[in-house]
Subunit: 243 residues, 2 copies
């Protein structure tokens, strides 16, 4: 008596997943479906789902937020993230919320049938972690300190992407103004923002702050959902500070 919950907003992908689950897990006798994160959370709570397949990019409430609240309630839930992209923003977002010792997976939608089915069995039956090669590569590059970003640096990157002033960032992280600016300089360095843009010396420089955000977006260090989440956290912080 095993149940699997599918959270995925695309009907075609949903039914494809349904079939895959049925084929890979004959011991599963109930497959639930949710068409966005909000509904998925509800179903997970109601059915105490222990096995979830989760899309990341959904309209109503995205997969990372849904997974976070689900894991907060029951940290031993096994979740397989099934996504189109291996953007650093997503990978970071996921690994930030996975609880200690939880079994989870991250496979791309471009993966083969077999890989998906294998991952389903490994995670749900064997409680193993399965991370796609591309995603794993991303993780390595991200955490490997060559051209990778510290957590603090990443936080500050997000902060300037949100449009905070240096002073605000300093207050938020309990740092001095100058320290924040040091971090920013490191960021500019790592993001390779110091090139001139025009031929005239001393004439065509970028606005470093803005350029850093642009480059981060182009390199997919940041994406919409990361920004959205960060904006929510910022507002929350502003809220508690108010009181």
């Amino acid at each position: 008596m095993m149940e699997v919950l599918i959270v995925e907003d695309d009907p075609l992908h949903r039914s494809y997943l349904h079939d895959a689950v049925r084929a890979a897990l004959p011991e599963c006798d109930l497959v639930l479906e949710a068409e966005n994160g909000r509904v998925g959370e509800g179903l997970a709570r109601q059915h105490r789902s222990a096995h979830i397949v989760m899309d990341l990019q959904m309209s109503e409430r995205n997969g990372i937020e849904a997974a976070r609240t689900i894991w907060k309630e029951r940290p031993d839930t096994r979740i397989l993230f099934w996504s189109n992209y291996a953007d650093e923003a997503y990978v970071r977002g996921v690994s930030r919320i996975v609880p200690e010792g939880a079994a989870y997976g991250y496979v791309l939608k471009s993966a083969s049938d077999d890989r998906l089915k294998l991952a389903l069995r490994s995670i749900f039956m064997e409680a193993q972690c399965v991370i796609d090669r591309e995603v794993r590569g991303m993780q390595q590059k991200s955490l490997g300190h060559v051209n990778g970003f510290t957590d603090v640096e990443y936080e500050i990157l997000i902060d300037i992407a949100l449009g905070l002033t240096d002073r605000m960032i300093a207050r938020r992280h309990n740092l001095s103004l100058r320290s924040v600016q040091n971090r920013l300089q490191q960021l500019y360095e790592k993001l390779n923002v110091y090139q001139r843009v025009g031929e005239d010396v001393e004439e065509g420089r970028y606005n470093l702050r803005g350029r850093a955000v642009a480059v981060a977006l182009l390199r997919k260090l940041i994406n919409y959902s990361a920004l959205e989440r960060a904006e929510a956290e910022l507002n929350e912080w502003l809220g508690v500070k108010q009181n």
Copy 2:
């Protein structure tokens, strides 16, 4: 003897589209498929395709760029854009490149079977334009001057999102420094960026420039593909300026 070219990177969606085309257009005797924009361009050129269904968000080369080069070569090509989103950035991007008097369509993937098939017939057989209601609504709101953005304003918004300095923007648009800054003030006004962020008066302001970009991203006035395109155009401009 009618041919239809499908450009779509998701295999499931591709085969769904294939079926839909077959069902809606029995007079069509050849359906070609491409898995990204680059391949799509090639096939379109090779087969002189006059009827194309195009996804917007693709990895290798996105739908807007592909459509632009295709339309540049044969402006009477009929293209149906089939996308997940009605973001203002996409809508603007599409309407910027559609040639005078061309027949095109924009329907969402969430649309029903019937709507898709109807759109296929309307555009390919009758040369009519078919724009989904949600998308149309977006267009209205975008162009209607209440809370809508001028083309110039939008250009400048893109420029600060790319991280250009005021001076650079001025040079690019042949404006004075001060005019650019006027435009920026309008932008800040329209994007509602002037609110304080903290309780201390005179203490917690946003960095307006950065905040404007953040808000624009959150409101989906800008998205990844728009940035990518803008970055390419910027580099092109820098190139010709060099010589």
